[in-house]
Amino acid sequence: MRQRAWGWNPTGRRRWALAVLLLGHLLWMALGRGSSNRWQHLANVLAAPPRAASARWEGWKASRRDKVTDLRQARTELLALRAQVTGLLTAREADAPRVAEADEAIRLLGLKKLLPLAFRAARVVVNVRKAPFGGMILDQGADAGLSPDQGVIAPEGVVGRLWDVGPTESSLLPLDAYNASTGVMLARSRATGVLQGLGPGKAAIRYIGNQEVVQVGEPVFTSGLDRVFPRGLLVGYVSAVLPHDVELHVEVALAAPLDRVGLVLILPAHPQMELQPPAGPPQTAPPGTTGKQAGP
């Protein structure tokens, strides 16, 4: 039996498929010539899910890229800031000695204005005070008109006196040296005595009668009797009072920081002026005081 050319048999189905293929293409081409809004709308609807997924994917990549960029910028800024901080710290450490010296110079200038004397400023170039027979060396000597036994003070208090004067430098005998003697007086009782050194940072007042009333924390000033310091310069504070035979053993904590003093003022030789000491004692006793009170 012969098959029909366009019937429902394999040959017919192939022909129908071929015809559909050709006509479909032709229809597609013809529809594409007119308004494509409907097709574009259909294509947009069909493409919406993958477009949304693509947008999310692109957004995620952009966010990640931004994060990486921000992280890199932050790391770069951090490195720059660290370098800047390191530079500032180094500069501050380099400037620290000059700043400290400037502060000390400012205090010295204030003291110089406060006391109407002809001072000469000097710099401590060597400080071996704690060594045996040690002392302090100043950068001024005979060339600056200095002579032995001129008083040396700092803004915090009396430092000592010139011991030996060389051509360009001089040695300083601090107050706490064992062979140093300075005329002093107590702030309250006005009792006078002689301050002798006891070692680093400490000294004791001799020749204070046991009938005197001395309080711990009481300021000690120069008496001016030794003709080295004018009357009224702060020496230190009473740190301990002990009865000892007919006199009191009065220990004094020196006010001047002898370990770290850098700039000092040198008093003129044989100052004649009497200075007015401050009115009252300090409110707090210096550290290390025993709080003991002695009287007659």
């Binding site: 071929l18 293929l21 293409h25 032709l26 597609w28 081409m29 013809a30 594409g32």
Partner: protein, 160 residues
């Protein structure tokens, strides 16, 4: 129409697939791409025993070519022209099977011209005016290569 034998049909199928991939990857070179498309449409597709299979391969080649060109606002013209040219080549092979190489070259040259005209007309119908290009010239010049390959290496199965 003779019944298909297994191995030549598979080889033809694989070659057509390779040709389709070649059209896709030869997009940066329009000349060789046009030659591959012509070889697929006029050399390989008419050799399938079923005209439906050949036309489908020709249409696929047209869609891949237009998809890689990305020039036309509406696609489908090249595929339609490919299908018509393939049907024409298929009917010619059925009626007058080629016996000599020179005659086959001449027939393929005429088919290249017709194919170019059909494709141009259908693309103009689908997408509007467009440039002719030189792809048809490439195909015409390289007929001794691709037509010989189509005839000798994979002769049409109808000849058996």
């Amino acid at each position: 129409m003779s019944s298909p034998t297994g191995t030549p049909l598979v080889r033809r199928f694989i070659l057509a697939l390779v040709c389709l991939g070649g059209i896709h990857y030869a997009a940066p070179w329009p000349g060789p791409q046009a030659v591959l498309n012509t070889f697929l449409v006029l050399g390989l597709a008419p050799g399938f025993t079923s005209p439906l299979a050949g036309v489908a391969w020709a249409a696929a080649g047209g869609w891949v070519l237009e998809g890689t060109l990305k020039m036309y606002p509406h696609l489908g013209g090249t595929a339609f022209g490919n299908m018509l040219a393939c049907l024409l080549a298929f009917s010619l092979i059925l009626r007058w099977p080629p016996h000599t190489l020179k005659a086959y070259w001449g027939r393929q040259a005429a088919l290249v011209i017709v194919h170019a005209l059909l494709v141009h007309a259908s693309v103009r119908f689908a997408a509007g005016p467009h440039a002719w290009g030189t792809g048809w010239l490439w195909s015409l010049v390289l007929i001794p290569a691709w037509a010989t390959l189509a005839l000798r290496l994979h002769p049409p199965l109808h000849r058996k």
